[in-house]
Symmetry: C2
Subunit: 459 residues, 2 copies
């Protein structure tokens, strides 16, 4: 009889694992059942802000692979609208509730892939039945928000709570739809994924498109009338709102895993080894937004919910479940986004992370351009480097620029990944042609400036 793999969660990590396992083992060797509580498999949650803004017109464009593909091409028994409610490690079975048809199913497993994803952070004050309050984690969230935005009376005043990637992207999307937008952030800057000096460049761009930024402001409640949201209550008084978007981030979805006894680390994510096995629990694997992972620079566990990690981790788990060998070596915190035409990239540690991790360091910001200064379309770009002293090892990098900027963070990410020093980086052979870079690439200019700063710091 075939071995049975059960996958809890049918999004990026779970389906990547299932597909990779299937590539290596056929149905006679491994049967695969995947439970997904939502309506969809493998969709791009990162694309939701662009769907809301109208840049991406159709929801289905966000769906990478539909269940039919998984069933027919991969021979995976994918069961949508089924929520796994219990995992019994002793009896090697899961219990799932059929959210559509009602009733429960029990399925035995030999191998379990836990990929339940993340759940939005939702403080007590945000728990309301009032209409007009939305998360933006799932396609269903997005559909509900779009419906609200298009229904009469049309909302005109939006408040976005939280100034991280999703908050900033949603604020831009709502501006593009013609709403007035306040963005409320508890910290002293939005986009706190980069340091304050770089975040200020982003905040300027946000203000430039009409987003009202309210930093250092704590939300304490929501006001409603006749079942509709009317205002966000803050320490400085109420802010009127016809629609409220919660962008407070996510946390690992581990309730079920913890009940079953799977180990959870200091970040709240499930612990795994390098092969994505759950340590001490034979035959159980975990991957994606529900796990914590190693930050390769700080050496500490982190929880970063991002599709690209989920896909990689799922692939690694699937290769291993399939009888192959693969490891996931951790992350370095690379991320990119944009606010209108302003592009933002980051990798590694911010200054505060470097301090927390105990590093001594210098940091520099080098101003340059994306193209040769004389080439049409040359726009400003700021590259920040954080380098350990006295070693000169790169610890982190940030880029903010107006065009062709964000993905240059990859160059720095690969340098960081390989433990390069800023001194060694000054010699890197990067592509040069006037439409693409000054003769000293912005990355090299920043590396040179960091070398000078290190020399100065040692004097």
């Amino acid at each position: 009889m075939a071995e049975r793999l059960i996958v809890v969660g049918g999004d990026a990590a779970g389906m990547a694992a299932a597909s990779q396992a299937r590539r290596r083992r056929n149905r006679d060797d491994l049967s695969i059942v995947a439970f997904e509580r939502g309506h969809f498999t493998s969709y791009s949650a990162c694309g939701i802000p662009y769907w809301i803004s109208g840049v991406v017109p159709d929801r289905d464009q966000l769906i990478a692979r539909d269940p039919v593909t998984f069933r027919e091409s991969f021979d995976i028994d994918i069961r949508l609208r089924h929520e796994v409610t219990a995992i019994d490690l002793e009896r090697r079975e899961v219990i799932a509730r059929d959210l559509a048809g009602g009733g429960e199913v029990r399925e035995g497993f030999d191998t379990l892939m836990y990929a339940a994803g993340a759940v939005p952070v939702k403080p007590a004050w945000a728990r309301t039945d009032a209409a007009g309050v939305f998360g933006v984690q799932t396609l269903d969230d997005g559909a509900a928000l779009l419906d609200w935005l298009e229904r009469e009376p049309r909302p005109r005043r939006a408040v976005v709570i939280g100034g991280g990637y999703i908050g900033v992207e949603m604020a831009e999307a709502l501006i593009q739809r013609g709403l007035t937008v306040d963005l409320v952030e508890q910290a002293d800057q939005p986009m706190s994924t980069v340091d304050g000096d770089m975040a200020e460049l982003v905040a300027d761009a946000m203000r430039g498109i009409g987003i009202h930024i309210r930093t250092g402001l704590t939300v304490t409640g929501l006001e409603e009338r006749d079942g509709r949201i009317t205002a966000v209550v803050t320490a400085e008084g109420p802010m009127p709102a016809d629609v409220v978007v919660l962008g407070l981030g996510v946390r690992p979805n581990t309730a079920l895993a913890e009940s079953a006894g799977l180990p959870v680390g200091p970040t709240g994510g499930i612990r795994t080894d390098r092969r994505m096995r759950v340590p001490g629990v034979p035959g159980v694997w975990a991957a994606g937004d529900c796990v914590e992972t190693l930050h390769r620079v700080s050496g500490m566990p982190v929880h970063i919910a991002l599709g690209t990690h989920a896909n990689k981790q799922g692939r690694v788990a699937g290769i291993n479940i399939g009888g192959g060998y693969a490891t996931f070596p951790g992350v370095i915190g690379t991320a990119v986004t944009k606010v209108c035409d302003l592009e933002v990239g980051r990798t590694g540690l911010r200054e505060r992370d470097a301090e927390t991790a105990g590093f001594e360091f210098v940091s520099v910001v080098a101003e340059s351009t994306n193209r040769a200064g004389y080439y049409p379309g040359a726009r400003k770009m700021a590259v920040k480097l954080i380098a350990e002293r006295p070693s000169g090892r790169l610890l982190g990098a940030q880029i903010v620029g107006w065009s062709e900027a964000a993905k240059r963070i990859d160059t720095l990410a690969v340098a960081l990944w390989n433990g390069m020093t800023v001194d060694a980086m000054t010699a890197l052979d990067l592509g040069y042609a006037p439409p693409y870079a000054p003769v000293w690439d912005p990355v090299l200019i920043a590396a040179r400036k960091a070398v000078d700063a290190l020399a100065g710091a040692e004097r």
Copy 2:
């Protein structure tokens, strides 16, 4: 008395060296005299095609730093229109001819920086006094060509000889100016800096904008009438031409150096050590388009004339002359260009280079997109990887894509620089957001495909 540094050649390498030396040593310690036979210092030869096309309207935009800056800010005695005609290592002096004023000057030196650049390859048949034949190496070349293009009777039929970067860029520039353009290439493909499969994508784009490509065709002469060029003679007959652009590449300008006894390597470039010293010749340094350098992947010397290398090498020499310590660790052959909107990047070895160097390898081409497939503006991108077998070490990479493609070669260049295997590359933490990449970045997709090819090759 101050030590005397003489710089032969006042472009990128020479002036980078002079500036860096000056940063570390003041005029009382080091006097600096730089001889430049042309009219300009530190200009962007790479920008000439964009000046010819009109994209960059003004010649002076291509001049990075003028002589006044070097004299006043750096205290460098820069002498334009002075051609060094002899170097006497015994007597430690150079002789320079004043091309403008006439006469000769002799200057003694303690330290010599040889940075005489490159000279265009010009076969015997190309030596003509006929008007209408142009190189495009110097600003003077560019000015002469522009003058010819704008003078009556206006040229309408251009033939560009040579299908490398400069030939392809000049062909595009001339199309943009409204000329008909034939591009003649002796090899079986233009843009032979990438492999044939990738070059074919470039050739398609060139044909798409109306460039007539003639490959496998040898030029044997030029025809003229009344002192004007009328045709290019080839093995297949004459090709009518009102203007001929020679894009046959350059070779190191070493005549003077060789007369003085400086050692020249197998590529024809001057040999240097890692600090840019000329070995066996105390007090003499060399950098830029006149030297050969180490290719870090093949381990063999190469001659690559490119402003970015010249600047880096000059900087290294100048730091060392200034009493500091720096090394130039070699190159990996990274280059980028574009043909209209098609972007081309390359790094490391092509297939033929890998064969020449004796490597066994697999190569793969992965098709992907620059953005998430659903994000507006997503365009096709092909990433080629060449990986050693069985080790999996990356040996080379090429990218051809329609938008936001070329500079992604830097990601691969840094991976190659650090000796990464394609297997390790599949785990790289690269920036992901829908406007910038699919959830599997094109670089990662290619790495995965290379891993599969390696596994297949070992079966």
